[in-house]
């Protein structure tokens, strides 16, 4: 690990100002991803701003009947919150499908959104990687690409966004609240938060330098049957090959987002209109323009089958409730 200076920020303004002063600074909260990458010298901040003391650790009701989840709420606490379990079950399910108990105790809501890809070529500093070293090339394109993305990719990068939590938040229509060094606040819809790689795969999200996430808001509960299905190589503690987050209403309409297949949680609103017609019809629209490799083309069929299983479970739940 490269040496760095360290400070504990006492207010959001202080944290944002410290970041503005130090272009090579990083905010640190749970640290489970950042420190891992710092040990490998993939991340080399010269200054760390510890934001754990900023008090963004509450889950509060919003005026429009939704919830505001503080940026520092730990994954365990979010998944266990009674309101989340009752009204936003897909989010609780997605969180407990990810990582380990130890990591979920540390990982925060904001940090989880910002976690970086698990592409093995991003991790291997002996390999070219446009995300790690812009302009160096992409070793995954000609390499072993079984885990990689099948849609939203570019000639510069085929890495996936690896998380589970954000896939559920995307289906729930969440927004990200931020503040910058001038105290300016803004709200970014989660669908606009993660960037597609294009020619700049190192730019992964909509945050400006020094901009700090303060909360994630969820709109009022939409009910329905909420399901998160994750298909992976091990039964526990593994990243998704494909995951599906879904909210299905009694009339078979609903929302769907898919993880493990794209550089961001993948949701196509137009495809959701096909939900009453089954998985195949939805996936036809959802994955239009997919560019799989030989190694990962199985994911196309896997999305359809996983969504099929989700819709079958929703149907079963409907039968039980009626």
């Amino acid at each position: 690990m490269k040496p760095f200076t360290y400070e504990r920020a006492k207010s959001p303004a202080e944290a944002a100002a410290a970041a503005a002063r130090n272009p090579d600074a990083k905010f640190i909260a749970g640290g489970t991803n950042l420190l891992d990458l710092m040990k490998l010298e993939i991340e080399t901040p010269k200054h760390l701003i510890d934001v754990n003391g900023l008090g963004f650790d509450k889950i509060e009701p919003t005026p429009d009947g939704g919830l505001r989840i503080g940026a520092l709420v730990r994954n365990t606490d979010l998944a266990a919150d009674e309101r989340i379990r009752r009204d936003y079950g897909v989010l609780s399910r997605a969180i407990v499908a990810g990582a380990s108990g130890q990591l979920r105790n540390k990982a925060t809501t904001a940090g989880n959104l910002l976690q970086r890809t698990r592409c093995p070529y991003f991790y291997d500093t002996n390999q070219p990687c446009n995300k790690r070293k812009p302009g160096s090339g992409c070793a995954a394109l000609g390499g072993y690409s079984r885990q990689m993305a099948v849609i939203g990719v570019s000639d510069a990068c085929i890495a996936t966004y690896p998380g589970d939590m954000a896939v559920a938040m995307r289906v729930l229509g969440a927004s990200v609240e931020t503040v910058n060094a001038h105290g300016t606040r803004r709200t970014i819809p989660l669908g606009d938060f993660h960037k597609l790689p294009g020619t700049t795969p190192h730019v992964e999200n909509a945050l400006a330098p020094g901009e700090l996430i303060t909360a994630v808001t969820l709109p009022r509960p939409v009910g329905g049957t909420q399901i998160y299905y994750k298909v992976r190589d091990r039964a526990s503690y593994a990243f998704a090959l494909v995951s599906v987050a879904a909210v299905i209403q009694p009339d078979d309409t609903g929302q769907v987002a898919v993880g493990g297949i794209a550089p961001r949680p993948w949701r196509v609103e137009a495809a959701e209109g096909e939900l009453p017609h089954g998985a195949k019809a939805v996936v036809g629209l959802l994955l239009t323009g997919a560019k799989p490799t030989n190694d990962n083309k199985f994911k196309i069929k896997l999305v359809e089958r996983t969504l099929g299983a989700v819709l079958a479970e929703a149907k079963e739940a409907k039968a039980q409730n009626s």
Binding site: K2, Y6, I28, G31, A80, R93, K106
Partner: protein, 232 residues
């Protein structure tokens, strides 16, 4: 061996029998290194010095105070020091183990304010005023924690390297179930999770055991859970 220039005392010296195994190995390594100083090795050293150039940046020290196993500790540490390294190398609490050092194996699991975390993936300086419990703080050889006793009874280990992490994780797992924290295998999110072997297996998936003592570990935790419940 007699010609080596390091500051190590000669193995032929008067304190032969005082040499620890570690010192003996270090002395051997120094001698080997000296023997290898060829032109190629010199070149390699120069290259290493060049590529390590940035590491010549001075370490940054920072103070931190926390409580470990009920005892107040104040340390001045390189900011890069993980909590695991602070515990093992500075406080000499070597019960917590370094396995992967990347939060994947769970051998470093400790409890911070009662919650289990990977101590290798957190900086010591980030734990100001925290209360940390390591395996050394759970029980003593004379007065074992029920989970420790159950691991011994059920042979919940073979080589033992992962065991401290397994036990710390198991203690916290039982608390999490009791507190109603759901898991991936909890059937109904709106009811309390039950204490079943499936729940334990899922919740303990962040602790890897290369010897494969898993079935005995689950037996041990199940028994300890029964005893802990009986005493509450």
């Amino acid at each position: 061996m007699k010609n080596r220039s390091s500051g190590e005392r000669s193995i032929e010296g008067t304190d032969d029998f005082a040499l620890t195994r570690r010192k003996f190995l270090l002395a051997g390594t120094a001698a080997l290194a000296a023997a290898l100083v060829s032109p190629i090795a010199k070149e390699a050293q120069a290259l290493a010095a060049e590529t390590m150039g940035n590491d010549a940046e001075p370490a940054v020290l920072s103070k931190v105070a926390f409580e470990v196993n009920g005892k107040a500790c104040e340390l001045e540490l390189d900011t890069r020091t993980t909590l695991l390294d602070a515990l093992r190398e500075h406080l000499h609490l070597t019960g917590s183990k370094k396995g992967c050092d990347h939060g994947q194996c769970g051998a470093c699991t400790v409890l911070v304010d009662g919650h289990r975390i990977n101590s290798c993936l957190t900086l010591a300086v980030m734990h100001q005023d925290d209360k940390i419990t390591t395996i050394e703080g759970l029980g003593t050889p004379e007065n074992l924690h029920p989970v420790q006793a159950a691991f011994i009874k059920h042979d919940g280990f073979q080589c033992g390297y992962c065991t401290s992490g397994q036990i710390c994780s198991a203690v916290a797992t039982l608390r999490e179930i009791k507190a109603g924290v759901p898991s991936h295998v909890t059937a109904d999110l709106t009811t309390r999770p039950q204490l079943t072997s499936d729940e334990l297996r899922e919740r303990m998936s962040g602790n890897i055991c290369r010897c494969g003592a898993y079935s005995n570990i689950i037996e041990a935790i199940n028994e300890a859970a029964g005893k802990l419940n009986a005493t509450v």
